[in-house]
């Protein structure tokens, strides 16, 4: 039976329309779930992919006695979710502001502002779910804040590098920049050991960006970084830094560099520069203060360089310590050419090679150089480590300039032996003095003694390494005897004398080249020496760039750098327990030297 009041045309039209609609929807479903399936699956899994990065704790840096020089602490980045914040807690905001040391208006504003304009349209407001209140909140403050129980106020832990001793050994330690990247010093050099292995977790997250642990696919725990033990000794370093600041105060030079090391092992006990900086606040000082000038700054070494030609001449058996050199001649006949010899400050006449060193005769040194000849002089310069990096490993070390004999001009052979026409770093001069102190064997300078793990177990030991033999042991002894006389009543470094100890050393006073000429007012005063001379325990090099002297006096190496050597050495004597030489022995030696 069919009703009669509905026209079949209208009745079936509706059914057709509905059928078509359903077909459309079915087609759409097919499109979405079959053809577009891969595309959407990719998009969705990308949106869900949750990669949680877990920062590894960076290892510590300690000195040779284990005191902490750089460490990593956990700090809290504190913030608030304005939407979770409840009005009932608004009274506690003042307390929060006090704990955070912030203005309470600022905290109030962070809590109240709940939306941010996302750009297009009137209704384009995005909720703010996190406002940072403070970057580095320490753990105890954070616990107090949690005790307040304000809803929506919470923090995330992060690592922060701390240098507890501020300026202490900053040039050696270096620092991490704001991104946590190692920038210089040991931080950069040993970054591979210190940084550890960051961990990560791969899982999925839900629409609120929270991790869904049930879908975690990869879990890799962070491995804590290893710690590094330096050869630096805190006590020595402290004394050295006192000395640096004393020189900075007294002479207000452009810069000061002091290096102290053990000659037998090459381990550096202290390395300091002025001006210095606090690695915690590395941004607050000019960038040039960051420079580890012991390695980066070049100067003409001057008289400290004289040990090289003299050592070479002794080693090549061209001269002996008591051979006489005529320092009254002003020219030297070499083949057809007459070379003008450099002047001495005081006319010295005919003196022995020993006295050339003791009195620091320029003319004498030039003649030693001439007897050696360019090739040999050059090769000994190389052997003593000039013109190449010491490979200490810190960033920015420079090679200096040591020209090959083929590039020398006519005067170089007479000027190089007195430390002109060559540029060096304080570290290179220090290295050459170490070789003399170590019986002629050059050790590779080192800052790191070992790398160890959390349980203080050594992972990688750094053993002392010899680089090469530079001069014979006997020659080294002869040379050090000469250097002892420098630090004697007749020498140029009387200021470095220590009662009861034999100190060997060489001063250097270099005129700086200003406007293409050697200046009479701008000097680099330096001293490099070791003690006790017969059993060297420490080599100390002090370089002072442009000391400003009172009443127009000259900043000689002996008067500016020498006292620093003495001050540091005195501290080492008590600290390392270095025994004074029996008086008889020193007397015997004095007689032998004919003093």
């Amino acid at each position: 039976m069919k009703n009669v009041f509905i026209s079949p045309y209208r009745f079936y039209f509706v059914f057709l329309a509905i059928l078509l609609t359903f077909c459309t929807l079915g087609g759409r479903l097919l499109h979405l779930q079959v053809w577009q399936s891969d595309k959407y699956t990719n998009l969705a899994s990308n949106a869900r992919k949750n990669f949680i990065h877990e920062e590894a704790r960076r290892g510590d840096i300690v000195d040779r006695k284990g005191s902490l020089l750089a460490t990593t602490r956990s700090v809290v980045v504190l913030g608030v979710d304005p939407h979770s914040f409840k009005e009932k807690d608004s009274k506690k905001l003042k307390q929060l502001a006090v704990l955070l040391d912030l203005e309470s208006e600022k905290v109030e504003e962070s809590v109240r502002r709940k939306f941010i304009h996302s750009g297009n349209g009137v209704t384009a407001m995005k909720p703010i779910r996190w406002v940072k209140l403070k970057d580095e909140v320490d753990d105890s403050t954070y616990r107090k804040i949690l005790k307040l129980g304000i809803d929506g106020v919470y923090g995330n832990y992060k690592h922060s590098r701390l240098y507890p001793n501020q300026n202490f050994a900053s040039h050696v330690l270096g620092y991490l920049n704001k991104e946590g990247k190692a920038c210089m010093g040991i931080e950069l050099m040993a970054d591979y050991y210190l940084r550890g292995q960051d961990g990560w977790r791969e899982s999925e997250r839900d629409g609120r960006r929270r991790e869904m642990p049930q879908f975690r696919s990869v879990e890799f725990d962070a491995r804590e970084g290893l710690s590094v033990e330096l050869s630096i000794d805190r006590v020595v370093q402290e004394r050295v830094e006192q000395e640096v600041s004393r020189i900075m105060d007294e002479f207000s030079p452009v810069s000061v560099s002091i290096i102290v090391s053990e000659p037998r092992t090459g381990e550096i006990l202290a390395m300091a520069n002025g001006p210095s900086f606090d690695p915690n606040l590395f941004n607050d000082v000019p960038l040039e203060n960051h420079r580890n000038r012991c390695l980066t700054d070049l100067y003409e070494p001057g008289s400290t360089f004289k040990i090289i030609p003299v050592g070479a001449a002794l080693n090549e058996k061209i001269l002996r310590t008591d051979d006489i050199i005529d320092c009254s001649v002003s020219t030297y006949q070499k083949g057809k050419k007459r070379l003008r010899l450099p002047k001495d400050h005081h006319p010295l006449g005919k003196i022995s090679l020993h006295q050339v060193v003791q009195k620091s005769s320029n003319r004498g040194a030039a003649q030693v150089g001439l007897r050696l000849g360019p090739e040999r002089l050059y090769s000994y310069c190389r052997a003593f480590g000039f013109g190449e990096r010491t490979n200490l490993g810190l960033l920015g070390e420079r090679k200096g300039t040591l020209h090959k004999p083929s590039n020398w001009d006519g005067l170089t052979i007479t000027r190089l032996p007195m430390g002109h026409a060559v540029s060096v770093t304080p570290m290179q001069v220090h290295g050459s003095m170490c070789a003399v102190a170590n019986g002629g064997i050059m050790m590779r300078p080192s800052l790191i003694r070992r790398v160890f793990d959390e349980e203080s177990k050594t992972v990688i030991p750094f053993k002392p390494r010899a680089v090469r033999r530079v001069i014979d042991e006997q020659v080294a002894d002869e040379l050090s005897e000469m250097l002892v006389s420098v630090v004697g009543p007749e020498g140029t470094a009387r200021s470095a004398m220590i009662q009861g100890y034999q100190v060997a050393g060489k001063t250097g006073t270099t005129q700086k080249i200003i406007d293409g000429k050697y200046s009479n007012t701008h000097h680099v005063a330096s001293f490099s020496g070791f003690f006790p001379a017969d059993n060297p325990r420490a080599v100390i090099t002090v370089v002072v760039d442009e000391p400003k002297m009172k009443k127009g006096r000259l900043g000689y190496g002996g008067s500016v750098a020498g006292p620093s050597f003495k001050n540091i050495a005195s501290r080492l004597i008590t600290y390392l327990g270095i025994q004074p030489r029996p008086k008889e022995l020193s007397l015997i030696r004095e007689q032998k030297l004919g003093l």
Binding site: F5, R10, F13, F22, Q33, K39, D206, G207
Partner: protein
């Protein structure tokens, strides 16, 4: 059943058991109401049409009264009755169907005239639509308009009036949408889903992703991830994408076919109904259920601009479920009647 199972999964992050228990209670209530409606005397109902319609209108008006109407998400759609919230627009659907059915049954002879055959029924539909529009609830308004127009069309109202008015209605609707910033953004973002994926079309985009992830076989019941806060309305309006993700194309197509089958099997039989009133009643009820399903699926698959519209039988929500079952009850009632025609009673002359 599918509805309950899916709800349990979709609502997983929102206290599934709580939702499930609530919905079971609603299903029981709905079944009871639907069952009652399927046995109610249609002539008795016919005589009370005006009262019911008036109550529905009153309800719609009340939602607009501040203090009584409850505002949620910027739309005033609910009346608060203590802890319970009722959505009068849902019940207005019943009223509309009842009134239109009675009206056309009474005025079968005047169907050709402009005033009685077209103007007055349009007025009835219009009044309901406008009141719902004021809430504003564009989806339900559109649904009521569409069902009303289809009933007019079926009842035999002249096309010369129907077509221009339909055109006018579409134009007016467009203008209203155009000047409503929320709606226009929904429409424009619907046209470019990917570009607006993080913004106004976020929900739609996530829904489409869910379908894509599901593929043909789905990822498995309870394994879907899109409801994990990616889809804000996973248990109500956007339950279909969750089904699509977890159970795949096979199930979504089955659901689509079920609705189609429901419409065809019941609809085609309705042709045999002997009385105009009962026919229109059942047809209106059926259209409401099926069109709502069409709109919902259209929206979540990105075929139609986003509207708040739940999927009949499946989405979470009390009012809609009750009304859906009332419609089912009505259809069953009419079908029963068709199989057992009431004896022709002698009327008083």
């Amino acid at each position: 059943m599918i509805g309950l199972v899916m709800l349990f999964s979709a609502g997983a992050v929102r206290g599934a058991q709580d939702l499930l228990v609530k919905q079971v209670v609603w299903v029981l209530i709905s079944l009871a109401v639907g069952g009652y409606v399927s046995f109610v005397d249609l002539d008795w109902l016919r005589n009370r049409t005006y009262i019911i319609f008036a109550l529905c209108l009153l309800g719609l008006v009340l939602t607009l009264v501040p203090g009584i109407g409850v505002k949620v998400n910027g739309a005033q759609r609910w009346i608060g009755l203590g802890s319970l919230r009722v959505q009068p627009s849902e019940f207005a659907k019943i009223g509309l169907v009842l009134l239109l059915a009675k009206y056309f049954a009474d005025k079968q002879r005047e169907i050709g005239s402009f005033v009685q055959g077209f103007f007055i029924p349009s007025l009835i539909i219009g009044s309901v639509c406008v009141l719902i529009l004021l809430q504003p609830d564009f989806g339900t308004c559109f649904l009521c308009g569409a069902v009303g127009a289809t009933l007019l069309f079926q009842a035999g109202v002249g096309l010369r009036w129907l077509l221009p008015v339909a055109g006018f209605a579409v134009a007016a609707f467009s203008i209203l949408v155009y000047f409503d910033p929320v709606r226009i953004r929904r429409v424009t973002s619907f046209l470019d889903v990917e570009a607006n994926a993080n913004d106004s079309a976020y929900q739609l985009w996530q829904g489409m992703l869910a379908f894509g992830v599901g593929g043909i076989e789905g990822v498995g019941l309870g394994m879907g991830r899109q409801q994990m806060y990616f889809l804000p309305e996973a248990h109500t309006d956007f339950i279909f994408p969750v089904i699509g993700e977890e159970l795949g194309l096979l199930t979504t197509i089955s659901i689509l076919l079920t609705f189609l089958l429901l419409f065809f099997s019941v609809g085609l039989k309705l042709r045999q109904v002997s009385r105009m009133h009962e026919y229109l009643l059942a047809m209106g009820a059926l259209l409401f259920v099926v069109l709502q399903a069409i709109i919902n699926i259209g929206v979540v698959t990105g075929c139609l601009p986003t509207k708040g519209m739940s999927l009949p039988f499946i989405s979470y929500g009390g009012s809609n479920l009750v009304v859906t079952f009332v419609f089912v009850g009505l259809v069953i009632n009419v079908m029963r009647k068709k199989d057992n025609p009431s004896p022709i009673q002698a009327r008083e002359l």
